[in-house]
């Protein structure tokens, strides 16, 4: 089972890196957003209620990571949908491997890709003057939350692909990514959000994932945001995994 999962994860990663048109949006769009947000709204740190930060880039770094991880989930879904459309998925199902490995392989790949995304944005932030106040333990905390969340978003993307079976349908949820982001505290402190976004943000796991990754950047590692971030990411990962396995079973039943 482990060998199959690793092989399928490796295949998914090789395919992802061979198709820069899939990878580019994960890194380039959030990078551009990060640049525009920090350049255009850097004075918002002067607003009453804004937490103490060295600069707006420090605050926005976690937002870019969260956005990138969410887009990673969409990309994982599109990749699987293309395999369903192309018939590879059916050949995989017909082969003598545990079927759950098909989903797990994709999730492991999503986790590894998430690590790449986290490292990329950390290096980018450091290069442009941000600092990780939590140091190496802080970076490891960001990595743990990010990888768990990345796997969760990958699982949700996989679920969508298994249900929709069409790459264009999965691609159609792209605007939804922004809806979920805008009703969280990823881009702005919860106290500064307008109503009803502030209320929704309180119940949105994305808020806790973003805040969990932000805390080690703007202050030292503290238990509460870290645990909340890990719990929210774990919840998304567990829920996503359960949904994707259920979707896989449904797809196999229909086949």
């Amino acid at each position: 089972m482990t060998r199959v999962v690793v092989a399928l994860a490796r295949r998914a990663l090789v395919n992802a890196f061979r198709r820069p048109q899939f990878l580019a949006p994960l890194l380039i769009f959030p990078t551009l957003f990060l640049a525009v947000n920090t350049g255009g709204l850097n004075r918002t740190t002067d607003l009453p209620g804004f937490p103490e930060v060295d600069g707006f880039l420090d605050f926005q770094l976690a937002a870019a990571m969260t956005q990138s991880l969410l887009l990673g989930g969409v990309t994982a879904g599109i990749a699987l949908a293309l395999e369903i459309e192309g018939g590879f998925f059916d050949r995989l199902v017909a082969s003598p491997i545990p079927r759950v490995a098909i989903v797990l392989g994709r999730l492991v790949a999503a986790g590894v890709l998430a690590a790449v995304q986290i490292v990329y944005f950390t290096v980018l932030g450091l290069a442009f003057g941000a600092s990780i106040h939590g140091g190496v333990p802080g970076f490891l905390a960001i990595l743990a939350i990010g990888m768990l969340a990345g796997m969760g978003f990958g699982a949700i993307g996989t679920t969508l692909a298994l249900r929709a079976r069409s790459a264009s349908t999965v691609q159609g949820i792209f605007p939804l990514v922004f809806v979920i982001l805008f009703v969280s505290s990823a881009f702005s402190p919860r106290d500064l959000l307008s109503s009803p976004a502030d209320t929704i943000a309180k119940y949105n796991p994305l808020s806790y994932i973003a805040d969990g990754m932000r805390d080690p950047v703007i202050s030292s590692v503290s238990a509460a945001p870290l645990l909340e971030g890990l719990a929210a990411a774990g919840l998304v990962a567990a829920g996503g995994l359960a949904m994707s396995v259920a979707a896989l079973r449904g797809r196999l039943r229909d086949a």
Partner: protein, 254 residues
């Protein structure tokens, strides 16, 4: 009617047909700019409280950004559709017909201008429903051609890339052009409040003039001083990118 105009008309109608025949494909392009506008306003709305902000309502300030983004998405979609036609061989058949290539290009690009009215109308209606002040008839008369012209500009960009790469895989590049052109301007805040590097970028970016031309009616009075630079900048951009698109089409298949 002149034969060339008939070709342009046929291609525009074909592009408009896609909206009615595949409405699902148009929905993300219509919804995304509105979601972006409303979302940004809810996240960064308090930025309007900053000293020096030229509007007391952030949503009003970014309505023109949404309008241009919607136009940009439409323009990029035109490029993606052309790439699809190239992949499927339909465009090669089109080139065999006895019509000047300039007419074919005009039809494809003009369709983007008309299609851009769909996201623009939806976004404008949502903005009005959320309490944005009506920009006045003159404000609208200035904004509409600028939005349509910007869609044509981004369609030129999409066409250039489609003719160069001949694949729908160039779609992210088409979107990126729109993203950079619109957002690396005074999209989020007046120039005085931007970070130094972005202020320089926004000053050099001609789309800033187009954006300010649309914005003037929403945040204040329409003035000739803000209007002519917007139209001039757009006309020059259209001439430059239109010229590149014509060159790309001439080289296509040679």
């Amino acid at each position: 009617m002149n034969a060339d105009l008939l070709v342009v008309r046929a291609l525009v109608l074909r592009a408009l047909n896609e909206i009615t025949r595949v409405p699902g494909a148009a929905i993300p392009g219509v919804l995304a700019p509105t979601i972006f506008m409303v979302g940004l306003a809810s996240v960064f709305g308090k930025a309007a409280d900053l000293p020096g902000f030229t509007s007391d309502d952030f949503l009003t300030f970014i309505v023109p950004v949404g309008l241009l983004q919607g136009a940009g998405f439409t323009g990029a979609a035109t490029g993606v559709n052309l790439a699809r036609d190239i992949e499927q061989g339909w465009f090669d058949r089109l080139l065999l017909c006895p019509a000047p290539r300039a007419a074919l290009l005009t039809g494809i690009i003009a369709s983007a201008g008309l299609r851009a009215m769909l996201p623009a109308t939806f976004l404008f209606a949502v903005a009005m429903a959320l309490g944005v002040d009506f920009p006045g008839l003159i404000g609208l008369l200035v904004a509409v051609p600028l939005v349509m012209g910007f869609a044509c500009l981004m369609a030129c960009w999409g066409v250039i890339l489609a003719l160069r790469f001949r694949s729908q895989q160039a779609a992210p590049l088409m979107q990126m052009g729109n993203f950079v052109a619109v957002l690396f301007s005074t999209s989020y805040a007046p120039k005085e409040l931007l970070a130094g590097w972005l202020e320089v970028f926004a000053t050099l970016n001609p789309v800033t003039l187009v954006l300010e031309g649309i914005r003037q009616g929403f945040v204040g009075d329409v003035t000739w001083g803000d209007t002519w630079p917007a139209f001039l900048a757009l006309a020059l951009l259209l001439a430059a990118f239109g010229g590149l698109a014509v060159r790309g089409l001439r080289r296509y298949g040679v």
